[in-house]
Symmetry: D4
Subunit: 216 residues, 8 copies
């Protein structure tokens, strides 16, 4: 992994035993480790296999399927990453983005329930939006949020379309096409439901701004 | 045609001669006639064929390809239909909606250039939005406008996705899916670029509110 | 919620505990509450949590996954919303539309089994069709019903394509495209299986016609 | 070619010279020849190349791009093939079906302008529908016609979806999916715009009923 | 149901209790009844509910999910319907077609395992192909069979694309598009996996050839 | 370019001047050069720019848009590449494959008009098929040919789906999916219309068989 | 089966009993047998049914669902087939390719974890790549590997897109389109997840190079 | 426009007269102006309308359709934006990205012809890659470049899929899906052919790194 980045494992296609083995091996050499899209069984197996001191720094977000070890909690970047989401069903992807961004050493803020159908909630948070150095917008259905947000701020907006929704959402296709065709300049898109990828790219962007003093 | 409605011809697949013949025939029995998706050639042919008194009431919107005869300009409905659009490239569809709604006897208002990437323009028009009885939202690219508008008003919103945009717009697919999956309740969708259909349905909705006094 | 409208919760992505909490909280302030796309477990949890007097007004439609509280049963709108469906497999979406429209204060009529392959059944109901102020057409497979109905009536028709059917139905895509490209003017489309959205929009349309005397 | 069938050439990809050569060569050995999807240039080249006696039996339908030679006009089948269409823009495909069916030796009837949005026109023609042995339904946009027709008759219905329409018609996809998912049993589908294929299959079906006396 | 046709129930969306009730009710008035896409539970419920004499004529094809009652086994049509299939995984659809065609009063023949990758098996059955009055070709994956068969015979070929296959089969899309774009004239297509629809249409075609003597 | 391979230029996006410059530059160092998807203008420009001795070895296939220089005509491979096609409209892609394979130093055979709807033509050529070391099958519409051919031979079959066909051919999608889902083992697929790519891969395969004596 | 090839059964759509019966029957006449896409139940049934001497040569790869009998382990081809894969989730398809290629008598090498995001791993294996006569590249997500590999080697590359990935991977569509549109000449594509098909075609290609001495 | 950003006009849907009027009006108030996707006619009209001093700073890139005015050429950002492309046909999009990035005040570097099929060219430029603060990767066909590049560098990579390619490229869909599903973390995607959007977002990212001294 790159300097200051956690090691990351991609869960699908790996058995519980494989995940325990890889995770604990990486944990020996790295302060921080992430495993995305895994499950409670892997969590328990890893928990049991870790030494006592590491165990305390292990967390598992069940909805997101995110297993993480965060022993080094230094803030390495100066700028704040803001994670936005609208509906409840997008929260697990927003959680993935938030937790990953934290483990990657960023100051992170989070706003939920700021959908465009209730614009006042979003507009009331303008100061929060304005102090972010990068914004991650998690949005399903018609994913109008990234366009509206990018129109309000001066920083890069990473749009994470989600597979929530039904019918013409077509498993996130509707949200994805919206993000890609946003009429507001400054929107960048990652794969459907890819909270991890958004956090990773946001961190890279954040690092363009230089390291935090705390990060040494 | 139903009481108070113009007769409507669908241009594609008809020759100039056919359009002239149908249009002038219908114009003999009807005060108002519309021909959608036709061209300047048909316009000229119809213009020449019409008697002098009708000619003055003939109009042609070249961008929209809309040819219309409006000899009866009574306002038959009470409520106002508001036609909104964001970008320049959506204007021809918005024009089709506006002109059709007028010929169908509705009070019509029009706001252009109110895209979601510049929210202040839209928010400054809240009073206009609030006095409409139906709103037609013409929107291409990611078509976020209908969601935002439906969140601001209490009347039905008819979304007209347009084929403007490029790449992942896929000839209006992106905008269409957005309209259909809007997270804001109260959005109804018509076919891509179908300004006429939006005006027609808006008129039917407007009529639920009863006829104007002027309409007898 | 807007005046006279129930509060509405979207079930997917929420735990049973969350739904119980939100539903009972909203029920304290609102006479009517709806939760769409939820399940029997949430129903039971809410039922147990509600005070005795509210419990009697709680209903659950299992096929539709619709949980509702209807303590205020006043008819707020004058016009009648007619809900039509063809096959058995469309009934759960039609149920959602019907129940939602009722809870929103509309007089509602319902006709099932009026598919276009047996036109006589539909034609025998012409008087029912004609007295509606808005019609909701629930239709799967090739969704020919909205076109036929819109050709027979003078009121707006809201088409709800459904995901029933197999093969080239492609989870409702066939029905959706049919509704959108209807050759009959006056058809407005909502998302696949979106009975709630159809009822909501139908209510907005119905309100253009003014409030019922009973509604005060 | 099979007994009583014309020889058929598929125009696309062939030069005018090739079409003239193939057409005139086939015309030497066959009373009837068809070339589909060709143009006026090929028509003129063939016309010039044919001997005088053949020339009189040559026809060209420009809209359909169908070039045909019909020197043997015997009616070989007993049953009648009925060709139906709704809008003007479907007429060229209906023409292709009709002319091909005629050249293949079938009694053919034709009804245009019988769309489902104006059901009375169609219902007024019930006797015509009932005396057909096979019906070819040419339909664009949402292609509701085949379903309605198949519900009214007892004979096979061949649906020809057309590429007419715009937006969500997606070049005939909407009509195609409708035909394939028709809720009315007895509908068989051919390729988009394939009037020739419909006529060919209708003729095969018609021949199951035995040959006409005239056909010897 | 039309003369000589069984009544048909479409299983999906109906509860076991509903199917038992409809099936037994129809069985009282009709010698033959079919219920497609149902399951063993419905089968057992119907079996128990039927009177002893009917029970003997009840059959259930589990793979096809087809429940049928065939008390009238007269052959009403003269021509033979031939049902072809290639791979094992297409057999359940071919079964549906065969059993439905039988219950509809047709002489039926069946050939399995005649895929185009082993052409000799198919060519060895040329006499069987030639004596059919209609052929139903059930084919998944690339569905090359209908084209090859239609090139060998002089009767109509009904292609039933199936959802078997994986990857680029896209749930039957590959097979469906193949059937629709067959370069061999005389191929007619029904919905993916629609063995019932193929049998129904084949019966209508077969009836163009007149009734069998046995059928009175 | 690899040993014995011509240099290849991809025409689209290049101006005539650029193509002339690149082509003539490459021709100075290479005996053989190919430029795919170019036009007559580029051909003329290159022809004029080449020295007299090279000019004689220049060829241009207009339908294929293939411009080639073949000064070294040695046969470098032993095995024969057989190029098959069915309809006229596939010939330009087959031409591209054939000419490219020749310039790449392979013995090449060509069979046109061997579609599956007329199986006898293909079966009559079995000996030709059997002596090939690789077969390139060019096929549009439903592209059944690769499956049938792969079932008849023991060598690799490269399928080139073409964009010929209309309607449900969807610009080659139907043919492409057919090739990919072929039920016959041994079929390998290249991009739609990619005759060049098929020839290139066939040459690589042919080289596994070792070099011809002539090739030194 | 062709000389030296195992007999192959396609598992889906067959019952455990059918697979046991077919497998054991084929095993009587053939040294080597393969059954793809089957399960542990079929494995156990076959294992029990086989005679003792065969049982030792039976293997089952659970992840791949591949059941195989390999009693004849002679290397029939001279060239080596190299199987490459990147991520863990592609391993089951790579396994299928590897095991099938072995049973078909090829020398096989295998490299896992050589994704393009870590180019050094791949570049370190250049000698392995260069000694292969055919390379099978198994790749999911954006499937960049075949392009990079084909640019490094002089032998044919068979790309096997996999259905791994999520979101815009669309069940392998993304990987499939990448393989088909590879900018590197020499890439041939098989169906998504089709490890068997890749092995089969690679074997055919390998045989162009002639048989190994051991193979008699 | 935001501080230091040029004003930007989107050309499509605007007449030459409109573009001239808007462009010259904006040029009065802004040092820098851009108009994307316009044509030579608009260029000439604007050129004529501009005052002499502005005219010298006007440029037009015909392939990209980009018209720009750059009177303020200060470098406002410190970091370098690197624009990469592979094939000739991607150059016009890369040009758009480069020119826009320059007008937005960034130091810009450009590398063309670094496709993955010739990896050595790319690897030879590692130092150039490493000194960039953001990289814009323009890639058509299978768009493997962003994955390979993101694996080599530590900065954010903006992928611009292009509509170049044919067949299964499906107007850029293949490239788009590749970019979105890149297995290399750190890739962000914009719309197909959206060079402008990539430059805009890259500039926002670059500004996170603070302003250049020259920029005041
Ligand atoms: N949810 C995810 N989506 C995409 N890529 C991921 C995800 N989680 C992890 N990765 C990537 O997968 C790599 C690890 O893959 P693996 O070695 O298969 O576990 C990491 O370096 C990440 O870049
Ligand atoms: N742009 C349009 N989109 C959809 N339907 C239309 C359009 N213009 C006209 N129509 C409908 O087409 C009918 C006339 O069709 P026709 O008789 O073919 O001219 C009218 O009654 C309208 O309902
Ligand atoms: N598998 C099937 N696919 C399509 N239509 C069917 C199928 N099975 C039955 N049907 C049709 O469905 C009708 C009965 O529908 P229902 O009244 O909902 O049971 C029958 O008349 C048939 O025309
Ligand atoms: N028709 C074609 N389809 C795909 N790739 C091609 C085609 N023609 C040429 N190429 C490839 O494009 C490369 C040359 O690209 P360029 O340098 O842009 O001219 C050659 O090395 C070929 O591998
Ligand atoms: Mg912004
Ligand atoms: Mg609203
Ligand atoms: Mg109507
Ligand atoms: Mg019928
Ligand atoms: Mg035939
Ligand atoms: Mg073979
Ligand atoms: Mg190579
Ligand atoms: Mg990187």
């Amino acid at each position: 992994a790159r300097r200051g980045f956690p090691e990351v494992i991609y869960g699908p296609g790996k058995t519980t035993a494989q995940i325990r083995e890889i995770f604990t091996r990486l944990a020996r050499r790295n302060a921080n480790v992430l495993c995305t899209r895994t499950d409670e069984a892997a969590h328990l197996a890893v928990r049991e296999a870790l030494p006592d001191d590491a165990r305390a720094a292990l967390f598992f977000d069940e909805a997101a399927g995110l297993l993480g070890l965060r022993r080094d909690a230094r803030l390495r970047q100066r700028g704040t990453i803001l994670v936005l989401s609208a509906g409840t069903s997008d929260q697990k992807v927003a959680n993935e983005a938030q937790r990953c961004a934290e483990v990657m050493g960023n100051p992170v803020e989070r706003l939920a329930d700021v959908g465009v159908a209730g614009l006042h909630r979003l507009l009331a948070e303008l100061p929060t939006l304005e102090r972010a150095s990068v914004i991650i917008c998690v949005a399903g259905f018609e994913a109008a949020l990234p366009s509206v947000v990018a129109g309000l701020v001066h920083c890069p907006v990473i749009a994470v379309p989600t597979s929530t929704g039904y019918g013409a959402s077509f498993e996130g296709l509707s949200a994805l096409l919206s993000c890609l065709t946003s009429c507001a300049a400054g929107v960048l898109t990652v794969n459907i439901d890819n909270g991890f990828g958004a956090a990773y790219a946001a961190t890279l962007i954040n690092r363009v701004g230089g390291e935090a003093e705390d990060s040494a």
